[in-house]
Amino acid sequence: MKSLLATLALTTALTLPGLAMARPLTLTTTLTNYGGDGAYLALYVTDASGAYVGSLWMAGDKSRYYEHLSDWYRATGGDTAQVNGITGASVGAGRTLEITLDLADTLFDAGYTLRIDAAVEDMRDSPNEVAVPLTTAGAGTPVTGRRYVASFAYDM
């Protein structure tokens, strides 16, 4: 499986000024063989009340399709500035997307949720494909998505 490795110097709301207060995190998303074209994935974080906090990664570079990532799109109003610099190619069926980034310590064990919205051309839109609480205990535990994600895990 081809994997995408990206080390991010995050410029979103999720970064904190000092990297000492952040820890590297590896996000691994493996898709099922759903039999369609490459999937668009939006990886983002919401707070305890469900409000949007910031984006981690956007797989898929044509902004005209972002409206199909409907939860992310509603939360951000489709603002591409939210994913500026953290956008990559869409992920093919059966492929794995691996991202490494530095995430602020304060986001862990504080009621934040890591979410993935997914969409594939001519197939169903899948907002809320994955929703996992960001906890230190949950790291390394793979979860399954609703429609396209075979497994998702974050490792510290």
């Binding site: 039999g35 074209d37 109003g77 489709g78 197939m123």
Partner: protein, 734 residues
């Protein structure tokens, strides 16, 4: 210029446009198939009813989509497992799998990106742009060649490849322009180069309640299924979420607790345009149009092959003009009007002599005449052959129209040189027409019109010296005409006549030489000929070929001519002395002006002596039993009744309707024109009914026939001249 714009994108992008068109044609089938396969909603059904039915079958439904084909797909979750199906709107139940068709997906990815992502998309867009350039330049070329828009569907002449190319193109060009333009728009849209309309902002305030039945929501009740695009349900358990409805008119949000419309945005102009363009390109929502476009683009590979053949044939037929200057910078403009291409050789010689004399020269076909572009020209020289009875030859099509349409004559003065054959009455007629048109337009001529008889190098050298004098340079033109490709023909049989009337004549039949595949494709040499075409015999001891009319077509399987021995005639003596097995060197020259043409209109064939040759060929080829009336003049039936037995057999087979003979030797000389007069009533009737008259033979006979026909036609108000302009009276005279 336009030709180059047509040629180079065509050759460079050939593979790309072939892939585009084949995959596009294959894809064009899917919208129609989907339309037929998809269960359609009954007329007038509302979205509320549809939603109600689907909800009772799939309570966990999340989204309902309707494709332009009318296919309705529902997506749901049932106990955490995702499900999707094509819905039968009558029941709300699933009717078929909603999975994308893998073949269609593969073809789509090939068609839009060659499986290469954005790079592939750009490559395919370049292909579409090439297609557009080809289509537009092709339209200009066809218009120019046909001589104007009104002749768009005019009958075509020339080798098969070129005819096929234009024949397909003039139908398919509509589809190609439409498909390539829409493709470019769609690519621009994909790469965010076009503005996009936004989705309405999420309403801030919602009722916070849940559970209002969609079947009662006023907007869903008011919206017919035919307008539905997409309906997304609120996320279960999230009271702040809403129903999202997309229709042909716009997008709106509906409160899940009250059913009220919270916000609505109409589709913007750009989105509407983009959707129309998407429909025109894909046929999604216009399946029939899609199929028609698919059929049209199927012509692209055929045009690719024929286009390459035409290009290669053109390269062979025309000598390379070395150092051709751009039209805008040349001091001397050479314009060439030629049918078969021989005049190009003269043009090349003149071009190189002028270039050596320090001139900058631009040489182009007369059909490319563009006076506005000749900014630096001091003079314009026209080298013009004549086609048929004074018509413009192929490479001069449209010249006179364009000259007539110009605001004023070019500033640079003109010299006209005509090429022709003095044995024809219309010697250099087209060149004279050009000179006359120039005079009428007030275009000054710096030399009187020159003429070249039968490609004479002496005539050409003489004219060249006159041109040099006029220009003040030394001009020595030494041109050796390039002979057409000659073949060795083997005599297989001969039939002798006329010895008793002191006119020894032979019908000579030669075996068909073998044609290469290339010659068959481009119709070169003896690969394609019809009765009435000409064969040039190269006699021993003379470089000048002698032309004879063919009495057979390629499909007859042999080459046949009728030759009368002239006292002292070099070629006729050699030919009439040939024995079977012996050979002669010859080439083929087309004579498209002397053809019976298609259709069922009666033919009146009139000939005397050896002039029977092509006429007999027409009768022999008349398998479709078109009415043919043959008037044949001879000296004596016992001596020179050429094809006598054949004609009787052809009459029995229905290939010949009537044979009228005229005998000139004897107590009461009777010529073919007398036979026509004797039959005046019927001849006049046939011509009134649309008959076509074809005359072949000596000049005196032809003149006599024309006089006789003028008399016969006088009561009808028609004249041979009128018939000639209608193309219904043609002559092959020697």
């Amino acid at each position: 210029m336009i030709r180059a714009l047509h040629r180079w994108p065509g050759l460079v992008a050939l593979a790309l446009v072939t892939v585009l068109s084949l995959s596009g044609a294959a894809l064009s089938v899917f919208p129609g198939a989907e339309r037929i396969a998809a269960p359609q909603a009954e007329a007038g059904m509302t979205v509320a009813t549809l939603v109600d039915r689907i909800l009772s079958a799939y309570p966990g439904v999340e989204q309902i989509r309707r494709a332009p084909s009318g296919r309705i797909t529902a997506y749901w979750f049932d106990q955490g497992a995702p499900g999707a199906a094509v819905i039968n709107p009558a029941t709300g139940q699933g009717a078929a799998s909603a999975d994308p068709n893998q073949t269609q997906r593969w073809l789509t990815n090939l068609h839009r990106s060659l499986f290469l992502g954005d790079g592939g998309r750009i490559a395919m867009a370049v292909g579409a742009a090439a297609m557009l350039v080809l289509a537009l330049s092709g339209v200009l070329l066809v218009t120019r060649r046909a001589g104007g828009w009104r002749h768009w569907f005019a009958r075509l002449r020339g080798p098969l490849a070129g005819r096929l190319h234009v024949e397909i193109a003039r139908i398919a060009v509509v589809g190609l322009v439409l498909s390539s333009t829409t493709a470019l728009w769609m690519t621009a849209s994909t790469f965010d180069l076009l503005p996009v309309g936004g989705v309405p902002a999420m309403p801030v305030e919602v009722s916070g309640e849940t559970g209002f039945a969609p079947v009662l929501m006023p907007l869903l009740v008011a919206t017919p299924v035919a307008e539905l695009r997409e309906l997304s349900f609120p996320y279960p358990g999230d009271a702040t979420d809403v129903f999202t409805l997309k229709t042909d008119r716009g997008t709106g949000y509906l409160d899940q607790g009250t059913g009220a419309l919270l916000a609505w945005t109409d589709l913007g102009g750009w989105e509407r345009a983009s959707e129309t363009i998407y429909m025109l390109h894909t046929g999604q929502g216009a399946a029939t149009l899609g199929l028609v476009l698919g059929l049209m683009v199927l012509g692209v590979p055929a045009m690719g092959v024929t286009g390459v053949v035409v290009w290669l044939a053109g390269r062979r037929g025309r000598p390379r003009i070395r150092g051709n200057q751009p039209a805008g910078r040349a001091e001397t403009i050479l314009l060439v009007g030629t049918e078969g291409g021989t005049t190009w050789g003269f043009a090349a010689t003149l071009h190189s002599a002028l270039t050596q004399a320090g001139q900058s020269v631009h040489t182009a076909p007369m059909s490319a005449f563009a006076p506005d572009r000749y900014a630096a020209a001091n003079r314009i020289v026209v080298l013009a052959a004549t086609y048929g009875d004074g018509a413009a030859p192929a490479s001069a099509k449209g010249f006179l129209d364009r000259l007539a349409a110009a605001d004023h004559a070019p500033d640079a003065p003109l010299a006209v040189l005509g090429f022709g054959d003095r044995s024809f009455p219309a010697f250099c007629a087209f060149a004279k027409a050009v000179a006359a048109a120039a005079q009428a337009k007030g275009w000054p001529q710096f030399m009187t019109i020159g003429t070249i008889d039968r490609q004479s190098p002496q005539d050409f050298a003489r004219w060249g010296r006159a041109l040099g004098d006029a220009m003040g340079v030394d001009l020595e033109l030494s041109h050796q005409p390039v002979l057409p490709l000659v073949k060795t023909l083997i005599l297989v049989s001969r039939h002798d006549y006329g010895a008793e009337v002191q006119a020894p004549t032979a019908i000579l039949r030669f075996a068909l030489p073998r044609a290469t595949l290339w010659q068959r494709l481009v119709g070169a040499g003896f690969a394609r000929f019809d009765a009435g075409d000409l064969i040039g015999i190269m006699p021993d001891g003379s470089p000048v070929p002698r032309l004879y009319s063919l009495a057979s077509a390629r499909r007859d399987g042999f080459i046949e001519i009728v030759v009368k021995k002239h006292p002292g005639g070099l070629a006729s003596s050699q030919l009439t002395a040939l024995e079977p097995g012996q050979t002669v060197t010859a080439f083929l020259r087309r004579n498209p002006g002397f053809r019976p043409g298609r259709g069922r209109a009666p033919l009146i064939l009139i000939g005397a002596g050896t002039g029977i040759g092509p006429l007999a060929g027409f009768v022999r080829g008349n398998a479709r039993q078109r009415p043919v009336h043959l008037f044949f003049g001879m000296r004596h039936p016992d001596s020179d009744f050429f094809y006598g037995e054949d004609l009787r057999a052809w009459q029995d087979e229905g290939r010949l309707t009537r044979l009228v003979t005229a005998v000139s030797r004897g107590t009461k000389p009777h010529y073919v024109q007398d036979a026509l007069r004797g039959d005046a009533a019927q001849v006049a009737q046939l011509i009134r009914d649309g008959a076509r008259v074809m005359v072949c033979g000596g000049r005196d006979m032809a003149a006599g026939v024309a006089d006789a026909l003028a008399e016969i036609l006088a009561p009808t108000g028609l004249t041979p001249a009128v018939l000639k302009t209608q193309g219904r009276y043609v002559e092959d005279v020697y």
